[in-house]
C-alpha cells in the first residue's frame, strides 16, 4: 500500500519539476529577445526587424473556431509576415468565461512578446490583462474590449455602435415608420450590446418604429428558426428582422421561407460569412453589417509591434512609461453596411 502511494507521488513530482524548468527556460528566452531588440541602437527598419525576428506575438480569442476570428487572424498573420515576426493563435474553443480566462492566463505564462486579446467578459479579463502588462507584455484588445483594464488601445468597433448603425439603416429604409423584431443570444455580452444599441436607437430616435419583440437565437439555427417562427405565428406584421449574430441569419431565412413570408419580411444580418454574402447576392437577406475583422487583426499586429519595439517611434524618451502619447487610445475599425451593391468586395480568398 505504501508503495502504491509512493508510485502515485512520483509522476506528480515530475510534473511540478518540468513545469518549473520549462517556465524558467521560456522566460529566459523571451526576455532576452525583447531586451536585445530594445538595446539595439539601430533605428532603421532593416535593423529593427532583424533584431525583432525571434519575437512571438499571440492572438487570443474565445470560441476560437468562430469564423469571424479566422478573418481577424488572417489580418494579424499578414501583418506579422510583413514585419518578419512569429504569430500564434490561441484561446478557448468553447464559450465559457472560466476556460477563456484560464487559456488567457496559460498563454500569458508562455511569456509572448505581446498579445492581442478579445475579451469575452470585460471585468473577468481585467486582472489577467493587467498582470500581463506589469510583467512586461504589451496588450491591446480588439473587437470586444475590457475598457477598465490597462490595455494600451482597443481596436474595433463598439458592438453598441454596430447596433445603432443597423437601426439607422433600417429606419432610413422604412422612412421612420414600421415594425421590427430582432434576435439575440442570451449570455453573450457582445451580441447583447449590439441589440442594446439597436433597441435604444429605435426607441429614442425613431418613435414611428415599433420594436415588436426580441427573440433568443438559441444554440443553433434550428432553435433560432423555431423561436422566430413562434413569433411570426403570433404576429407576422413585421417589416424588418435584425439577426444580431451570424448563426441566427440562417435560422431566420429558413423560418421565413417555411412560413411563406420570404420577401415580405426583410432580414438584416451580422458579419460577413460566405453564406450570408451569398444570401445577399440572391436576395434572401437584404443587408449585413461588417466589422472589418481583417482590419482589426492587421492593425492589432502593427500596434503591438510598435509597442514591443519601442525604439520604432522616436517621439520622446521613455514614451512607453509615459503612456505612449503617440498612439491613439481607441481605434475604430469601422462598421460597414453590406448590401447587394458592395457585396463582392467582402468575399475573401477562402473558397470552399
Amino acid at each position: 500500500m505504501k508503495l502504491r502511494k509512493l508510485v502515485a507521488v512520483i509522476p506528480a513530482l515530475c510534473l511540478v519539476f518540468s513545469m518549473v524548468a520549462c517556465s524558467s527556460r521560456n522566460t529566459a528566452k523571451q526576455v532576452s529577445s525583447a531586451e536585445s531588440a530594445q538595446s539595439s541602437s539601430d533605428h532603421t527598419l532593416a535593423g529593427i526587424t532583424t533584431a525583432s525576428s525571434g519575437q512571438t506575438y499571440y492572438m487570443v480569442t474565445f470560441l476560437s473556431g468562430y469564423s469571424f476570428w479566422t478573418e481577424c487572424w488572417r489580418g494579424f498573420k499578414d501583418a506579422a509576415d510583413l514585419l518578419g515576426v512569429n504569430a500564434k493563435y490561441g484561446g478557448a474553443t468553447d464559450y465559457d468565461v472560466n476556460s477563456a480566462v484560464t487559456s488567457l492566463q496559460q498563454i500569458i505564462a508562455l511569456k509572448p512578446t505581446a498579445m492581442a486579446v478579445t475579451c469575452m467578459d470585460a471585468s473577468a479579463y481585467k486582472e489577467p490583462i493587467n498582470s500581463a502588462i506589469t510583467s512586461g507584455i504589451p496588450v491591446v484588445t480588439f473587437d470586444s474590449d475590457s475598457p477598465n483594464s490597462n490595455r494600451t488601445t482597443f481596436i474595433g468597433t463598439s458592438n453598441y455602435a454596430a447596433g445603432v448603425a443597423a437601426a439607422n439603416y433600417i429606419a432610413k429604409k422604412l422612412s421612420g415608420k414600421g415594425r421590427v423584431a430582432c434576435l439575440t443570444r442570451t449570455g453573450q455580452s457582445n451580441i447583447n450590446e449590439r441589440i442594446q444599441g439597436f433597441i435604444q436607437t429605435i426607441a429614442e430616435k425613431y418613435p414611428g418604429i415599433k420594436m415588436v419583440q426580441v427573440v433568443d437565437a438559441g444554440n443553433d439555427e434550428n432553435e433560432a428558426a423555431t423561436n422566430i417562427s413562434s413569433l411570426l405565428a403570433k404576429d407576422s406584421n413585421i417589416n424588418y428582422i435584425f439577426a444580431g449574430l451570424q448563426q441566427a441569419v440562417l435560422g431566420t431565412e429558413t423560418a421565413l421561407s417555411e412560413s411563406g413570408l420570404k420577401g415580405k419580411i426583410k432580414i438584416v444580418g451580422f458579419d460577413t460569412d460566405k453564406t450570408t454574402l451569398d444570401s445577399i447576392k440572391n436576395g434572401t437577406v437584404e443587408a449585413t453589417l461588417s466589422q472589418s475583422p481583417y482590419a482589426e487583426g492587421y492593425w492589432s499586429m502593427i500596434y503591438l509591434y510598435m509597442l514591443a519595439n519601442q525604439q520604432c517611434i522616436k517621439s520622446s524618451d521613455g514614451w512607453y512609461k509615459k503612456g505612449f502619447p503617440s498612439l491613439p487610445q481607441t481605434c475604430d475599425s469601422g462598421c460597414t453596411i453590406v448590401t447587394a451593391q458592395n457585396v463582392d468586395l467582402f468575399y475573401t480568398d477562402q473558397s470552399k
Partner: protein
C-alpha cells in the same frame, strides 16, 4: 381478486402499467389548455406546423435515446454527430458527388460514430458518459475544421431541389419532414415496445448480471444501442441539412441535453430498464410547446431559460410522486 384465468382484474394494475405516460400526458394537456387561453395564435396552422417541424429531428433522435437510457446509459454525442453528418453531406455534394450518395454517406457518418461509441462502451466497457462526451468534442472539432468556424451552403446543383423537398417541402400543406418524423416515431414505438431485440435492451438495463447469466450478449446489445443513436443522429443531420440547405459550425449544438431531458420527462428512467418511445416523444413535444408559449407570451429572453428549467423540474417531481404512490 383473481378471475378464472389467473389474471388480476384489478383495474388499478392496468392503469399502473401506463401511468408513466399518463402523468406526462396530463402535464401536456394542461399546457395546451394554458396555451390556447394565452393566445389564439397558438393553435393556428402556421404555428403548429412550424413547431412540429422544429421538433421533428429531435424527435427522431429521441427514439434511439430512449433505448440508450433504457440500457442504463446515455449518448451525449448525438448533437455533434447530427452536425457532422450535415457538413459531410455538404462537403461531398459541393465537390461533385451526387446528392443522393452524399446523403447516404451522411447517414453512414452517423453509423460509424455510433459504432465507435458502441464498441468502446459495449466491448471495452468504458463509461458511457466519458465516451460519448469525448465523441461529442471530437465530432464538434471536426465540424469546426470542415466549416472553418462559419457555415457552408449546398451549391444549387442537380438533385439538390429534390433533396431539399424532404426537409422543406409540404404535401397538401403538411410538412414532409413531420411525416417522416411520424413514420419513424410510430415504427420506433412499436419496435421498442414489442420486438425481441429491443426487449433484450430492457433486460440489460434492468439487471445486467441477470441478462448475462440468461445468455444475452450484453456487449453486443450495448454496441447496437449506441450504433442506433449514432445512425438516427446521422439521419437527423441529413434531414436538418435538407431543411436549412446550409451546415454551420453550431448545427446540432445542445440537442443532446434537450433530447435526454425530454425522455426523462416522458418517463424514461435514467437508471435503465424502463421507458417508452411514446413517452420520450411526448416529452419532446412538451419542451417545444414550453418554448413556443414563452415566445408567444413575449417573455424576456433572459427569463426563458429559468422558466423552461423550472417547468422541467416540476414535471419530474410530478412524475416521481405519482410513481411513489403506487409503491
Amino acid at each position: 381478486m383473481l378471475n378464472k384465468n389467473g389474471l388480476t382484474e384489478n383495474l388499478n394494475l392496468q392503469k399502473i402499467k401506463s401511468v408513466k405516460e399518463l402523468s406526462v400526458s396530463v402535464v401536456l394537456c394542461v399546457l395546451l389548455l394554458f396555451a390556447s387561453l394565452i393566445s389564439p395564435a397558438f393553435f393556428s396552422g402556421a404555428n403548429l406546423k412550424t413547431t412540429a417541424v422544429g421538433f421533428s429531428c429531435n424527435g427522431i433522435i429521441a427514439i434511439a435515446m430512449t433505448l440508450a437510457l433504457v440500457s442504463g446509459g446515455f449518448d451525449l454525442s448525438v448533437g455533434s454527430i447530427l452536425g457532422l453528418s450535415s457538413i459531410s453531406v455538404v462537403v461531398l455534394a459541393n465537390s461533385g458527388v451526387p446528392i443522393g450518395i452524399a446523403g447516404l454517406f451522411g447517414c453512414l457518418v452517423g453509423v460509424l460514430c455510433g459504432l465507435i461509441n458502441g464498441f468502446l462502451i459495449g466491448y471495452v466497457k468504458l463509461n458511457a458518459f466519458i465516451t460519448t462526451l469525448g465523441m461529442q468534442q471530437m465530432a464538434r472539432g471536426l465540424i469546426y475544421v470542415l466549416t472553418n468556424g462559419g457555415s457552408v451552403g449546398l451549391k444549387p446543383e442537380a438533385g439538390v431541389n429534390a433533396f431539399r423537398f424532404i426537409g422543406s417541402g409540404t404535401v397538401g400543406g403538411f410538412p414532409v419532414l413531420v411525416i417522416v418524423f411520424l413514420v419513424f416515431s410510430v415504427l420506433g414505438d412499436i419496435v421498442v415496445r414489442k420486438s425481441s431485440i429491443a426487449r433484450n435492451v430492457f433486460f440489460v438495463g434492468s439487471n445486467e448480471k441477470t441478462a448475462m447469466l440468461s445468455g444475452i450478449n450484453t456487449k453486443f446489445v450495448k454496441m447496437m444501442v449506441y450504433t442506433l443513436t449514432g445512425t438516427l443522429s446521422g439521419i437527423a443531420g441529413v434531414l436538418t441539412l435538407s431543411r436549412f440547405g446550409t451546415a454551420t459550425a453550431s448545427t446540432g449544438s445542445g440537442v443532446e441535453m434537450t433530447v435526454i431531458s425530454a425522455a426523462v420527462v416522458g418517463g424514461v428512467s435514467l437508471s435503465g430498464g424502463k421507458g417508452t418511445v411514446a413517452g420520450a416523444i411526448i416529452g419532446i413535444i412538451l419542451l417545444s410547446i414550453i418554448t413556443n408559449i414563452l415566445v408567444i407570451m413575449n417573455v424576456s429572453v433572459h427569463w426563458q431559460n429559468f422558466i423552461t428549467g423550472m417547468i422541467l423540474i416540476l414535471a419530474i417531481i410530478f412524475d416521481a410522486l405519482s410513481n411513489r404512490k403506487r409503491h
